[in-house]
C-alpha cells in the first residue's frame, strides 16, 4: 500500500513537471497554390496608317513602312507561338509584317499578311516577351488609288 502511494505521488510529480515542461505546441493547415494556364497578348502603339503617295518616275510607287506598334505577351504554357492574320480577304495592296527586337521568342521571317494565319513569333513558351512590328505596304501602278483597312489579329496558339 505504501509503495502504491509513493508511486502515485511520483506520477503526480512527473506529471506536474511535464506540465511545466510543455513549452512547445504546434498546429497546421493546408495551403494550396494552383497556377492555371495563362496566355495574354496585347498590341501596343495603337493603330497604324501607311500612306503611299510618292514614286520615282518610271518605277512603281515607293513603299511605306511603320514600326510604331508592337506586342507584349505572357505565356506560362509550353509549346506556344504567335501568329498573325488579317480580316481582309482580298486587299488591293500588299502588306507585309516582321517582328523586330524580339525578347522572349524568335522572330519568323517577314510574312505577307493574309487571312490565313501565319507564324509571326515562335518559341514564346513560358515567357514574358515584347517585340516591335514593322509593317511595309507596297502598291503597283495597276493597283490604282484606294484604301485597304485591315484588322490585324495576333494570337498565341499551340506550335
Amino acid at each position: 500500500m505504501k509503495i502504491k502511494w509513493i508511486g502515485a505521488i511520483g506520477f503526480w510529480i512527473i506529471l506536474s513537471y511535464l506540465q511545466f515542461a510543455i513549452a512547445v505546441d504546434t498546429d497546421n493547415h493546408t495551403v494550396t497554390v494552383t497556377v492555371n494556364t495563362i496566355n495574354e497578348i496585347a498590341v501596343t502603339g495603337g493603330n497604324v496608317l501607311l500612306t503611299i503617295n510618292t514614286a520615282t518616275a518610271g518605277s512603281e510607287p515607293t513603299n511605306a513602312a511603320d514600326a510604331t506598334s508592337g506586342l507584349l505577351w505572357t505565356s506560362n504554357a509550353s509549346g506556344k507561338k504567335i501568329t498573325i492574320g488579317t480580316n481582309l480577304a482580298s486587299p488591293e495592296y500588299t502588306l507585309k509584317a516582321l517582328a523586330t527586337g524580339v525578347s522572349g521568342g524568335t522572330a519568323a521571317s517577314e510574312v505577307t499578311v493574309s487571312n490565313i494565319s501565319q507564324d509571326f513569333i515562335t518559341g514564346v513558351s513560358t515567357t514574358t516577351g515584347s517585340s516591335s512590328t514593322r509593317y511595309t505596304a507596297s502598291a503597283t501602278v495597276e493597283g490604282g488609288a484606294g484604301s485597304d483597312i485591315h484588322t490585324i489579329t495576333f494570337t498565341i496558339v499551340d506550335n
Binding site: 506540465q19 511545466f20 515542461a21 510543455i22 513549452a23 512547445v24 505546441d25 504546434t26 498546429d27 497546421n28 493547415h29 493546408t30 495551403v31 494550396t32 497554390v33 494552383t34 497556377v35 492555371n36 494556364t37 495563362i38 495574354e40 497578348i41 496585347a42 506586342l71 507584349l72 505577351w73 505572357t74 505565356s75 506560362n76 504554357a77 509550353s78 513560358t126 515567357t127 514574358t128 516577351g129 515584347s130
Partner: protein, 134 residues
C-alpha cells in the same frame, strides 16, 4: 491550472489560384487573409515565446509568403512577411506570459507568386506553426 503554451490555426485551409496576367508582365499575385492564428503563453513559465512557421514542401514550384497582421495588442510582435521553406522562421516574437483567458490572435495573410517560366502546376503545402521559447 495549465502551463506551457498553445497555438492553433483557425478558419481551415487556404486555396490560392493564379490565373491571370497583364500581357508582358509576370502572372498576377494571389493573396488570402481568411485564416487566423490564436495562441497563449500560459502563466507559470517565465520565458517569452515566439511562433515559427514552416512548410513540409521541399521544392515548391511557386513562391509562398505569409505575414501575421492585426496582432492583438501586447501579445507579440510580427516579424513581417516571410517566405515559406522547410526551415522554420520566426513569424511572431516577444510573446509575453499571459493571464488566462487572454489570448493572442492575428490574421494570416498568404501571398503566392509565380513567374511565366514556372509553368502550370499545383503546390500543396502543410504549413506548421510552432510556439517555442525565444
Amino acid at each position: 491550472m495549465a502551463y506551457g503554451a498553445d497555438v492553433a490555426v483557425l478558419n481551415g485551409n487556404v486555396d490560392l489560384v493564379i490565373s491571370s496576367a497583364t500581357a508582358g508582365q509576370e502572372p498576377d499575385v494571389d493573396s488570402d487573409q481568411t485564416a487566423q492564428l490564436e495562441w497563449n503563453n500560459w502563466p507559470g513559465t517565465s520565458a517569452t515565446k515566439k511562433i515559427t512557421v514552416q512548410t513540409n514542401l521541399a521544392s515548391p514550384n511557386f513562391t509562398l509568403k505569409v505575414q501575421a497582421l492585426n496582432i492583438t495588442a501586447a501579445t507579440g510582435t510580427s516579424a513581417g512577411e516571410v517566405t515559406l521553406t522547410t526551415i522554420s522562421v520566426d513569424l511572431i516574437s516577444s510573446i509575453p506570459a499571459m493571464t488566462s483567458p487572454d489570448v493572442g490572435t492575428c490574421d494570416l495573410r498568404y501571398t503566392a507568386t509565380a513567374t511565366a517560366s514556372d509553368g502550370i502546376n499545383v503546390d500543396t503545402h502543410t504549413i506548421t506553426y510552432t510556439i517555442v521559447d525565444e
